[in-house]
Amino acid sequence: MAAPMRLLVRRVIRLSHRNIHVSAAGASGRSGCCWGTSPCRCFSDDRNTHFGFETVPEAEKAKRVYKVFENVAQKYDVMNDAMSLGIHRLWKDTLLHVMHPQPGARLLDVGGGTGDIAFRFLEYVCSQQERQKRRATRSMQTPSWQDISNNYSTEDEDGPRESRAVVCDINKEMLKVGKQKADSMGIGAGLSWVVGDAEELPFDDDQFDIYTIAFGIRNVTHIDQALQEALRVLKPGGRFMCLEFSKVTNPVLARLYDAYSFQMIPVLGEVIAGDWKSYQYLVESIRKFPDQEEFKHMIEDAGFYCVQYYNFTGGVVALHSGFKL
């Protein structure tokens, strides 16, 4: 069939791209010097991937990403505000508007450590619910006796549909910070915190209406596996939404953005969080992530339909959306 062939061809192209990246990075000498720790490992496990601009063995990447987020967890939100000048809040708000969740929806937010998406989700469905209630009461200003007696009997069994948000993250520090935030904001109902790996989610099939991953998927070692897991845990008709840094299309903006990323952001990381290297990794990992079109194809390959993307802030951030049918 055409689809598996296309899948195969794309996989081959991706692998060859990866090898080009590897050899380019190898030519700089970085990999050779730094990762000669265990030469025997180099022979047996020579599958490499990128960690920012470095080339590392695949097994190493997850550990290093874990360390990065463990270090930055406490200052994560402050840094987000400083680096994006608060614009990340608008991006996340727009994600919720595009999502337009209805009361009763079940959300899985992967890589959602500090809970930004989950909190916004719960607030949104709450306000949706109130709007619906208001609409209902307005339309029932003069109910008949029959209607009133019906209401009494149905009120208990079909109460307000409980929306639930599950925040899943591989990093315990980030979840800890998220839980603290939830406690201080007084949000508890309908929220759960689960430790899990995006490549191997600890959930059954067909569980969730919406799967979101905001600024997390570029840290995953095997993105295609994460996409397949997303497909698995979504219900039929469920929506996959991914917010991620992407390629800026406008060349002038791109230059400014690159200058800002490489000159300013690690400095902010050092001054605010005391951690230059984690934020250097962040800006490098953005450059290594596939662009909008390529990522759209990856999502389609995983089996999603009606995949489309929206560019925010000139392509600095892209929202990819797909459905499981």
């Binding site: 730094c34 060349p251 690159d258 902010l268 230059w276």
Partner: protein
């Protein structure tokens, strides 16, 4: 596109840097293999562009002023603003025979390299014994010094590191405790000696946190003494302290041309600014 311009330049620079690192790795036998897995001229080095250094200087200055307990920001400020002063210091060290030895042998002052029991058995009044007493009285350890990160020359980075590690020894030489007044006095001495902008900033802003009586003692006796001695003393970085533990403290002061302090400050009046 910036990244395609930036990357080759960065890679080229790193190629030069990596080749230097590789040569060093071949020669270094100490420090575990984990230490040699670094991406710069020395362990902990983070190469920076001039723009980044400028931004760091401003940012760390602001952060240090807002929260003086952020020692890492004070350190970064020192590293990013001290280039000329470090070159000057290195020249002075090179021109001094003992300083030249230090630049070649690169001693580091840490608990692991100090023989504490031997130092404790030294007679009172000897430099080693007084240094140990200073560490105990003020509850400090030589291992709390941050590593240098943003100096892009390996020898200058060592000079900076030496300056940090000598700081506690300076306290002993000058007889100053680690309370605010003592620290300000040492900063005035260091500013006069080294010319590091960070020391000068600390010397100017430190007194703002002192109460009236301490300010008076600073301006009337301690301050002028510190400044004068800073100017006339031999370069304190050029002294191989590790080989002078047995030397009498007063002798050492005379050799360095440092007069004893005009006021005896005790370590017990900490935290009462």
């Amino acid at each position: 596109m910036w990244p395609s311009v930036c990357k080759p330049w960065l890679f080229q620079r790193h190629c030069v840097v990596i080749s230097k690192v590789c040569v060093q790795q071949l020669h270094s036998s100490s420090s575990g293999f984990a230490d040699t897995c670094y991406n710069g001229l020395y362990p902990g080095h983070i190469p920076t562009t001039p723009i980044q250094r400028a931004l760091l200087a401003v940012g760390s200055g602001v952060a240090a002023l807002r929260d003086p307990y952020r020692h890492d920001m004070v350190a970064v400020l020192g590293e990013t603003t001290g280039h000329l002063a470090l070159i000057n210091l290195r020249e002075r060290m090179r021109n001094d025979p003992e300083g030249y030895t230090i630049l070649t042998e690169r001693p580091r002052i840490r608990l692991s390299t100090l023989d504490l029991s031997k130092m404790a058995s030294l007679p009172d009044g000897s430099f080693g014994r007084e240094y140990l007493r200073f560490l105990e009285d003020n509850h400090v350890t030589p291992d709390s010094r941050a590593d240098v990160k943003f100096v892009d020359n390996e020898e200058l980075a060592y000079v900076m590191q030496r300056y940090r590690e000598v700081h506690d020894l300076l306290h002993t030489l000058l007889g100053m405790p680690t309370n605010m007044l003592g620290e300000v006095a040492v900063k005035w001495f260091e500013a006069a000696q080294t010319g590091l902008p960070m020391c000068a900033l600390g010397a100017v802003l430190g007194p703002l946190r002192l109460n009236a009586s301490r300010l008076q003692s600073l301006f009337t006796s301690l301050g002028p003494w510190a400044l004068q001695n800073g100017r006339q003393a031999r370069c304190v970085l050029s002294i191989f302290y590790e080989r002078r533990w047995e030397q009498n403290l007063e002798d050492l002061r005379q050799e360095l041309n440092i007069q004893p302090p005009p006021l005896i400050l005790s370590a017990s009046n900490k935290r009462s600014t």
